[in-house]
Every structure is written in C-alpha cells, then in structure tokens.
C-alpha cells in the first residue's frame, strides 16, 4: 500500500545549523500523527520541508507515492498564528476562498460558483458562516484558528498539516478543534506538530517525538525516557486526570 507520507533520511540545514538530521517518518492513509518536540526542535521545519518551501540537503520525501516536488495536488496547511499579518484588510470569506487558488498564476482568476459552494460548505461545517463578512482583525483566537483550518480545507486536500493548531486557545476551543479534526480525519491524513504535550488528544493515532532527530515513532504510548531524550529534560507528562490523556501514567512527579 502506498503511504500518504514517507520521509527517508531527510536532513535540513539552515546555513550551517542543522535543523533536521536524517529523519525517517511515514504516515499511512488516514493516519492522525502528532509530532511532538521542544521549541526549536525542527517541527515547523519538518512541515515546511514536506510542503516544499524548505529544500532538504539530503533525503527523499514522498507524498502518496510521488516525490514532493512532483506532487501537484493541494496540501492543506494551517500555519502558526505568528506567521502572518492579522491587521490586514480581508474578510473571513475571502480568506477561506483563497484556499481555492492554485499556483501557475492564471491571469484574471476569479472565484467561481464552485469555489463559493465548497468554501460555503466548509464554513458551515466549522460553524463560521455567520462570521463571513467580518474582517480577520476582529476575530478571537479560536475563531481565527477555525478560519485558517477552513482555508486549508477549501483546497480539498488529502493531506493536512497543522502547526501548533491549539496554541493560544482555551481548553474549550481546543476540544472543539479536535472534534472537527476527528471528523476530517475520516478521509484525510492529518499531521500535527506541537510542543504542548497537553494538547494531544485521544483522537491521535500515532506519535512521533522530534528534536532534530526522530526519537520515537509509533503508538501513542511513550515512556518518560523517550520524553526525556526528546525534550532534554524531564517533562511533566500531561496533566494527570485530564480526560484526553493518552500517555501512560508514570510514577512520581517529574519537573523541569
């Protein structure tokens, strides 16, 4: 069976600094993979390398069996909040519609009926239709996150990448995002990166631990030892008693 995503021996360097070192990673179709690791551990770089924005110095990336430079289908991408200008004159609907654009720069590309229909359906699904005419500047964090998710989904991707999708959200908004992701996951492969272990929900099927190197990849059952290696320090493994806990409980309280 072809994998949705396959990374072989991928190494990425920024000037001389190594961001990713010989990473091997794969995700089956309709997998829900969470890549966890500390800040600066190469998580965003990993996503950008998959997207083709960052070119690896070595290694191979395959998306649904095709080299990532040859893969012409859209890939859904939800960036971090900080990566763009919030004070920009654009409405929610226009942001979602922009996900329908494709490269190649066809002049006089206007949004067509089909584009409006698909964006409309997605906005309905994410319950942001009533925000349609609102400028993005006036959205709350949770609303903006849904808008970014809707923009990524507007392209109808088979692969969805999310960069810290629940950072800066309260736990209620987080849960709602995960509920939506669970639905999407039925027919879309999802790869999510986060440094926040508490953000991981029970909907996740596999986990990878990344800190420049890949330390673990598999079922979401990881030991304190792996966490220690990934984060370089003992980490309080998820708040105990939180409903979405997926990591095995461990003896004694560890602190950084």
């Amino acid at each position: 069976m072809t994998q949705a995503l396959e990374l072989k021996n991928v190494t990425v360097k920024y000037n001389r600094t190594c961001a990713l070192s010989a990473v091997n990673l794969s995700a089956a179709e309709n997998d829900f993979l969470a890549v966890i690791g500390p800040n600066g551990g190469g998580k965003s770089t990993l996503l950008k390398t998959i997207l083709g924005i960052v070119t690896p110095v070595q290694g191979e990336i395959k998306i649904f069996g095709k080299n990532n430079s040859q893969y012409k289908e859209p890939i859904g991408y939800v960036p971090q909040f900080s990566s763009f200008r919030r004070a920009f004159p654009i409405t929610v609907e226009d942001v979602v519609l922009s996900g329908r654009l494709k490269g190649g720069g066809r002049p006089f590309r206007r949004y067509e009926k089909n584009d409006y229909r698909i964006s409309g359906d997605i906005m309905d699904k994410l319950q942001i239709t009533q925000l349609r005419r609102k400028p993005v500047v006036r959205l709350s964090g949770g609303q903006l996150q849904k808008v970014l998710l809707a923009r990524a989904l507007a392209a109808e991707p088979r692969l969805l990448l999310l960069d810290e999708p629940t950072a800066s959200l309260d736990s209620e908004a987080k849960n709602r995002i995960y509920e939506i992701l669970k639905q999407i996951n039925q027919h879309t492969t999802i790869i999510l990166v986060t440094h926040d272990l508490a953000a991981i929900s029970s909907y996740i099927k596999n986990i990878a631990c990344l800190n420049k190197k890949l330390y673990y990849h598999g079922e979401p059952e990881i030991s304190e030892d792996i966490i220690h290696k990934t984060f370089g320090c003992p980490v309080d493994l998820i708040a105990h008693g939180v409903p979405h806990r997926v990591l095995r409980s461990h003896g004694g309280d560890a602190t950084c």
Partner: protein
Amino acid sequence: MLRAVLQYSFLQNALFCALLISACCGIVGTVIVLKKQVMLSGGIAHISFGGIGLGYLLGIEPLIGAFLFAVAAALGISILGERSQQESDVATGIFWAAGMALGVLFIALTPGYPPDMASYLFGDILTVTKTDLLLALIIDFIVLFLVTAYYNYLSVYLFDAEFAAVLKVNTKLLAGLLNVVAALTIVILVRAVGIILVMALLTAPAAVASLIGSSLKTVMLAAGVITLLSCLGGLWLSYSLQIPSGAAIALFAAAIYAGAHIIKRLRSQYG
C-alpha cells in the same frame, strides 16, 4: 482658481497629473504600507537621483535615467531581501546614500552651468510636460492591469506570503514584480512632489485608507481618492498662499493622516 484652471494649460496639466498619479500611488502605496516596505520605497526614490544626475551628464532625459536606476535598485534590493530582512535593510540604506552621492557627482561632472535640481528634490507639479503625463498614463496602465489580473493572488500573498508559497504561487516573481512596479510609480511621483516628499504620498493616503477599508480593493481605492484629495488640496493651498506645490501637497497629505488619527482616537474614547 477655477477660471485660472480654464485659462492656463500648466494648471490643466497639473490637475491631469494629480489624477494620473493618484491611481498608481493609491495601489502601490497600499502594497508598500501593508508589506511594511516604507524604508525600501524611500531608498528607491533617493537612488533615482543618481539616474537623474546621469541623465544630465549624458544629455538624455533625466527621468529615463531615474527609471533605469530605480528599477535596477528595486531588483537588486529584492534579490538581497530574499536572503535576510537585515541584509536588505542595510542594503537599502547604502543604496539610498550612494544613489544621492552619485547624483551629486554626475551633476558636478556635467559641463556648463549646473541645472536646477530643486524641482527634483521638492517636485513641481506645475511644470509637468505632456511627456510626463504620457509616462504617468503608461505606468497607470501597467499597474492597473497587473492588479486586476492578479488581484486574488496579490491579496493572498500580501496577507500570508507563506501560504501563497504553499499554493505554489511564484512568490519570488511576485515580490520582484511588485518592487519594479513600485519603482516606476515612485519615479513618476518624484516628478510631482520630489524625492524628499515622495514618502508623504506613498504612506499617508494608504495608512488612512487602511483605517477605512475592509478589503484590499477598498483600501486601494480609498488610498487613490485620498491621494487625489491631497494633490488637489495642496495645489489649492499652493495657488492661494503662493507656496511651493510639492511642499503643500506633502503637508496636506500629512494633515489628512493626523486628522484621521485624531478622529480614530476620539471615536475609540467616546464612541
């Protein structure tokens, strides 16, 4: 003043010029303000002085020299800008000074009496020629065509350049193209308000417009209208108070900006 407009062709030219530069200035100013490239546009304006000097030295139309220098600088800066923000910031500063210095040097080397440079530094919309108007018209055509043809791409690129790259939009080409278009617009603005005052028309109308508009389209349109108001207001001031037109236009634009911010402050306090 109305009778004077009908009577004197230089006043008619000035009004035409105001109308023509408002279109490209509104669009390019909006891009510059949203992309936070005010420093870069100042750099391009000052570099064009080198081209003006070269034009005098070689005996060709100084504005042609200005176009060549400005476009070359815009391309140079966008190539450097790909590497790092800091590098491009420093490069802009160096280009800025070197361009001015070259202009002074070329003019000193020009045989005969030195030409009057004040009109390039502070602009003179009252002396624009038919050729200047034609150039402005061509630039308007280029800018309007590019913006209408690639509006949706431009909007997504300016909002979130990284996402535009994910959509496989050629962001490098787009950035280069925007810089070149900015360079063309800046040179034509130099003719109207001068190198030193060009910043007023590029920034103030777009900054005020972004307080009003809810989409890129409306901000560009509003910026164009505010540019036109600044030019007309400045011309009227200049005519009735007998003060230099470039300075009057720049001050009018600055006054609109100050007024808009005072209103915004009052509205958020009492509204």
